[in-house]
């Protein structure tokens, strides 16, 4: 057997786990590990400018590939800087492993320099965490960490590694385990066959069924299967913010996104359905509105890998715990096996009603007095210029909702956003992680002038590693989403939602060695965007000035049913 130091064992374990890239930032407690990185080529390290960005990059990488994103940081401030990124991944069930250096074992608990109880600080926002006690445990711990992060309902795992156990002076036998079994961790592998059959019968007998698909379909690699099921049933389907792309937005049976800023047809179809098949979705409060008033006439079938997601906010009539992929496969089979002919008259009537809702055309961009460009137009143009084919990441705010509603997604893992935590500052590093994974794809970050400044320093990392992503800064000179709420609920008192003294983003982009393009008029937008995307090997920062007074619509009325919504500013005020 080979003899290696703890630090070398750690890096070799990552390589043997199949990790090709790791996002990180060095420091005292991680120096032995960084020295081990220097001695090898299997694992590429990307040096970020802030540890939070490292976690979002790993997260973006994980979301576009379905693989585990990996992060390496030092103890204390390095470790605490990852917290927002870990929480972001946790809320959206993203597989991630964060390795943090720790002070030497004998110093732990003594308030040593750069000591933070990382396992303690991260505890509520991780799927699991480890404090490695001895070098002999490193390989198995890494194996377990990746296994836990990736399987069941995925999530972030922290591995805290005291400096002394990575000491290059001490050598240990290295063998990377080929598999791991844990008696206390056994993810469900199959949904209950009886429940699946019962559910399928109910779906086939329903008069007004709808499928409500969530991020679990994307994460569970079940988009193709979902499409098959949707087409074989002929029923309408809606998607959550996290599920966008699991159905082609051009699909006739697709009603668009549901929820707080969902479409009129999606929310109305949910409210009036007699059967809801929820697939990998979790009845989040941004979907249901008041859960007490949620879809009163519907029987609810809920497929989820996590039993705790079922009947948490809305009671399921038929719960199915299992991997979405397997459950949908069996359901499609059951549709074929069961000799149930759906009620054609009822289905036609259902579609007729839905078409009437659709005709409202709730996403049509309504004319205003203002001559200024509209943020919706920017996203529509982006969709057109990129043929609806780019990987789009977003930050958080109005621009995020516009990017969700107006870009025409056609495949899973194409739309990347922080849905659960709503983390401003996510978009740019997530785009970088995506670009690392798919260097040949168009990767676009749709952001706002507020959000982009929360991780703007990563423009420097983009330069170092030549990551020619495109940044679409929808500049409304305000924390638009906050301002919208203040308009609606605080009598237009704009308390600290204005951004005074914005930087010159063009000069800023140039200072980092990139290209900046400013656009003020809609007439110039198409040409400018075409130019932007023609610069294949350049990071281009498009600073696009839009109407600062625009609101996101449709918007649910707080405390109402899922379908209680306002469709325009005129209606809202």
């Amino acid at each position: 057997m080979e003899l290696l130091s703890g630090a070398d064992i750690l890096i070799r374990s990552l390589a043997d786990e199949g990790v090709d890239v790791i996002f990180g930032y060095p420091g005292g407690a991680a120096l032995h590990i960084y020295d081990a990185l220097y001695r090898q080529k299997a694992v590429e390290h990307i040096l970020v400018r802030h540890e939070q960005a490292a976690t979002h990059m790993a997260d973006g990488y994980a979301r576009v590939t379905g693989r585990v994103g990996t992060v390496l940081v030092t103890s204390g401030p390095g470790a605490t800087n990852t917290i927002t990124g870990i929480a972001t991944a946790y809320m959206d069930s993203i597989p991630m492993v964060v390795i943090s250096g720790q002070v030497q074992s004998h110093l732990i608990g003594g308030d040593a320099f750069q000591e933070t109880d990382m396992v303690g600080v991260s505890r509520p926002i991780v799927k699991h965490s480890f404090l490695v006690k001895k070098a002999e445990d490193i390989a198995l711990t890494i194996k377990k960490a990746f296994y836990i992060a990736r399987t069941g309902r995925p999530g972030p795992v922290v591995v805290d590694v005291p400096k002394d156990i990575t000491n290059p002076a001490n050598l240990f036998e290295y063998r990377y385990p080929s598999s791991v079994k844990m008696r206390s961790y056994t993810p469900v592998l199959r949904g209950h066959a009886g429940q699946i059959k019962k559910a399928t019968e109910e779906i086939l007998n329903a008069k007004r069924p709808i499928i409500y698909a969530g991020g679990g379909v994307v994460q569970g690699n079940a988009s193709e299967l979902l499409r098959d099921l949707v087409h074989s049933l002929g029923c309408p389907v809606t998607s959550t913010l996290m599920g966008l792309g699991c159905i082609d937005s051009a699909d006739k049976q697709y009603l668009g996104m549901l929820g707080m800023h969902g479409t009129y047809e999606a929310n109305n179809a949910m409210h009036n359905a007699d059967l809801i098949l929820a697939v990998g979705a979790r009845f989040d409060d941004r979907v249901t509105n008041d859960p007490e008033k949620f879809c009163p006439g519907a029987r609810i079938i809920h497929i989820d890998i996590d039993p705790a997601s079922i009947s948490k906010t809305v009671r399921a009539d038929i719960p199915i715990v299992g991997p979405v992929e397997q459950v949908l496969t069996d359901m499609i089979e059951a549709v074929k096996q069961l000799n149930i002919v759906p009620d054609k008259t009822a289905q036609d009537a259902w579609w007729k009603t839905i078409e009437e809702w659709r005709e409202i055309d709730c996403l049509a961009i309504k004319p205003t007095e203002s001559p200024l460009m509209r943020p919706q137009q920017v996203v529509e143009m982006l969709s057109k210029v990129t043929n609806g084919d780019a990987i789009v990441t977003s930050d958080v705010g109005q621009h995020q909702m516009f990017a969700a509603l107006y870009y025409k997604y056609n495949r899973p893992r194409q739309w990347i956003n922080s849905g659960g935590l709503g983390t401003m500052g996510f978009g740019l590093p997530a785009a970088m992680g995506a670009k690392m994974a798919f260097p040949d794809a168009n990767v676009v970050c749709v952001t706002g002038e507020g959000s982009i400044q929360m991780n703007i320093q990563e423009l420097s990392t983009c330069k170092q590693y030549n990551l020619p992503i495109k940044i679409i800064n929808i500049n409304n000179q305000a924390l638009g989403m906050v301002k919208q709420w203040q308009d609606l609920h605080y009598e237009k008192r704009h308390s600290h939602s204005y951004m005074d003294s914005l930087p010159d983003f063009i000069k800023l982009a140039e200072a980092y060695g990139h290209v900046g393009i400013r656009v003020d008029r809609y007439e110039d937008l198409e040409a400018a965007m075409i130019e932007c995307f023609s610069m294949k090997d350049k990071l281009v920062f498009m600073d696009i000035y839009v109407d600062p007074n625009e609101h996101v619509y449709p918007m649910q009325v707080a405390g109402g049913t899922i379908k209680d919504m306002v469709l325009s500013k005129a209606e809202g005020s």
């Binding site: 303690g120 799927k127 008696r183 206390s184 996590d306 705790a308 009947s311």
Partner: protein
Amino acid sequence: MRRIISILMENEAGALSRIVGLFSQRGYNIDSLTVAPTDDESLSRLTLTTEGDEGTIEQITKQLNKLVEVVKLVDLTEGAHLERELMLIKLKAVGAQRAELKRTTDIFRGQIVDVTSTLYTIQLAGTSDKLDAFVEAVNGVPIVEVVRSGVSGLGRGDKVLSL
């Protein structure tokens, strides 16, 4: 409704804090908690009592089950079970009260385990209700100090919580 949840968990540093943390993080109450190693050195047994409606208890057990260090758990209150709690109570015992206290202790099948000229320390085991009843029964006698172990328990008959 009061529930007794008994958990078999990995005997590892940090496992307990994860369980306790889950309760505070998600806004559930822990009314009592006891934990100790089992005959199998690698496992600890934790028993806690909590209050909540059916939905809350369902969430609590599901969330607990998700913790990687939790091997198995059971809601003992779902079936016939045994529960025991230990109490040590130090009471002021002077004059006629001494005989009275001795009698009450006998009735409750407790033992006087320490004595001074003015104090009795009484040991009592049983359900939480029984311990409460004892405290009620000695009402009037000044209590100097009370310590209770929290509930532990197991299912009756064939029902076992093991690997």
